[in-house]
């Protein structure tokens, strides 16, 4: 009796442990590309910006693969090795990727760590348990991304002055691209009648996007900002009342979060469900959302199409 109880407890613990390990350690980081000084980026967004600024003139490793959870990521041994050899480690900050500090310390090698969101106007989350906490999803506003590009170009130039002109040209080109994308997104959002500019999302990850383009955040299906928590029935009921009262046109489910609850909520309230928005991560290489400008435009098209 006691023995089988122990067996069961061990079984449950090992299951939970194995899955939490899976969610972190087992996902291999993307192999390094390019040649030049070693640069490590934590997030897919920072990786894409380094590529935009430096082309193939740095040896870039992006630690978090597309679609993986950023908060509790743990790099594999190969990635730690590359952190050891890196000259520069670029992190998002705002509570998203603080685990990299431990990784750099363990790896040794003395890479310089730079928070690329330095100088960005940080907003607080609007919904759930993280309400009032700083929102790390700064890349959802092209104006913030321009700041990140400037920070990255400055850090690369300092680390590798020989390629200063390459970095300056890359940064200028991408800056222009972001200005153009900003105008395109604005035009897409203009197509939505003003009374329809309201969003319900799976988790609260589009605060910066909504603030920039004048969209109203009505609510999120999942109570906390990070993925993987359970929706509560009480709060889901309140949200379904809000959707009806506010005349919300669509529920948006991000690529990273299970869309089932959002889908049923949309069905019950008779509104559209839109899946495949990119919130926490860029898309896989080769997809339209593999770059920040592509991701922002893809999201804006889906939002505009659904709310028009």
């Amino acid at each position: 009796m006691i023995l089988s109880l122990i067996k069961r407890v061990v079984g449950v613990c090992s299951l939970a442990l194995a899955v939490s390990l899976l969610a972190t350690a087992c996902v291999p980081s993307t192999p390094a590309t390019g040649s030049g000084i070693g640069v490590v980026a934590t997030t897919t967004q920072i990786g894409a910006l380094v590529r935009a600024v430096a082309g193939d003139e740095v040896r870039l490793t992006v630690l978090i693969p597309p679609g993986a959870e950023a908060h509790d990521f743990e790099p594999d041994p190969q990635a730690v090795k590359r952190v050891h050899h890196a000259r520069l480690v670029l992190k998002n900050g705002i509570g998203l990727d603080d685990w990299i500090l431990g990784t750099v310390e363990n790896a040794g090698g003395g890479a310089r760590i730079l928070v690329v969101t330095e100088g960005v106007q940080i907003l607080t989350s609007a919904a759930g348990d993280e309400a009032g906490e700083d929102d790390p999803h700064v890349w959802q506003d092209p104006e913030n991304v321009r700041v990140m590009v400037r920070n990255i170009a400055a850090a690369l130039t300092e680390a590798d002055p020989a390629h200063a002109s390459v970095f300056a040209a890359g940064a200028a080109a991408y800056d222009a691209r972001l200005v153009a994308v900003d105008a395109e997104i604005r035009a897409l959002i203009e197509e939505i009648p003003p009374q329809n500019r309201k969003m319900v999302t799976n988790h609260d990850a589009f605060g910066y996007f909504m603030a920039r383009y004048g969209l109203e955040f009505v609510g999120a299906v999942f109570p906390v900002g990070s993925a993987g928590s359970q929706a509560s029935a009480r709060q889901l009921a309140a949200l379904s009342n809000l959707i009806k009262a506010e005349g919300v046109k669509a529920v948006f489910a991000e690529e990273e979060v299970d869309p089932r609850v959002a889908r049923e909520l949309a069905n019950d309230t008779g509104v559209r469900i839109v899946t495949g928005l990119y919130a926490d991560s860029l898309g896989p290489p080769g997809s339209e959302a593999a770059t920040i400008d592509g991701m922002l435009l893809a999201n804006a098209r889906k939002i505009s199409e659904a709310l028009k």
Partner: protein, 296 residues
Amino acid sequence: MNWVTEPLQYPFMQRALLEMAIIGVLCGLIGCFVVLRGLAFIGDALAHAVFPGVVLSYIAGKSILFGAFFFGILTALAVGVLSRSRRVSEDSAIGVIFAAFFALGVVILSRQTGFRRDLGSLLFGNILGVSATDVWVTFAVAVVVVGVLVALLKEFTLAAFDPTMARSAGYPVFALDLLLLLLVAATIVVSLQTVGNILILALVVTPAASARLLTDHLGRMMAASTAIAVGSGVGGLYISFHAATAASATVVLTATAVFLACLVFAPNHGLVSSYLARRHGHHHAHHYHAGEQLEG
């Protein structure tokens, strides 16, 4: 708004309550055999061993029922066959197989680098995301499982409690055992998506274990177990709605509270009545005998 009627105006709560009630009947009935035959360990093993099936269905974007049921059947068959060997005891067979299958699930998952969405709903279920189709599928599976169980109730009972007599009476005991395992597997798989891998066992075992404390009669035990399972499922959902807590865990804790109440206050086997009986010098030798139950 009324405590009882307020949640009912939301379709997602209607589906969740309906799903919970169906699962309550299913788990309550099957749970009696799991508890009386000491199958709790294999029940837990089944819940874990279907993991690769869940992962594969998840990756393929299909309902987890297909993959989970395939691996559930495979596990039940493998345990049944392996434990026929004299050298491999049943619990060893279960240990070997469920760890192996779970490891297989982990390996498959570790090869996936793309968007996996969150694993939370695999582990803890998603009762609030249950669709109308899910409810119909659960209902159909419940009808089949309960139908088989009721049709073969006498055979199952005899094979479970007096296999020697059952064998001499010409019953295919091994096949009946295997069939019972398959029914347990079907119950666990169909309940998985509502409460998840980790908590499912509580729905199968806890109501039946509570009922076992209340009565010695199999028929009454099945009725009580079903009532407790449905009651804690529906009650737990109501509590989770009003207290804004995670649904599946609240259901499990509600069932646990019922179990503890039975443990203390049950008329014959409860702690209070045992204590009183001892004080009055009655030796309450009440043992469970399947033979008696059949006639009773």
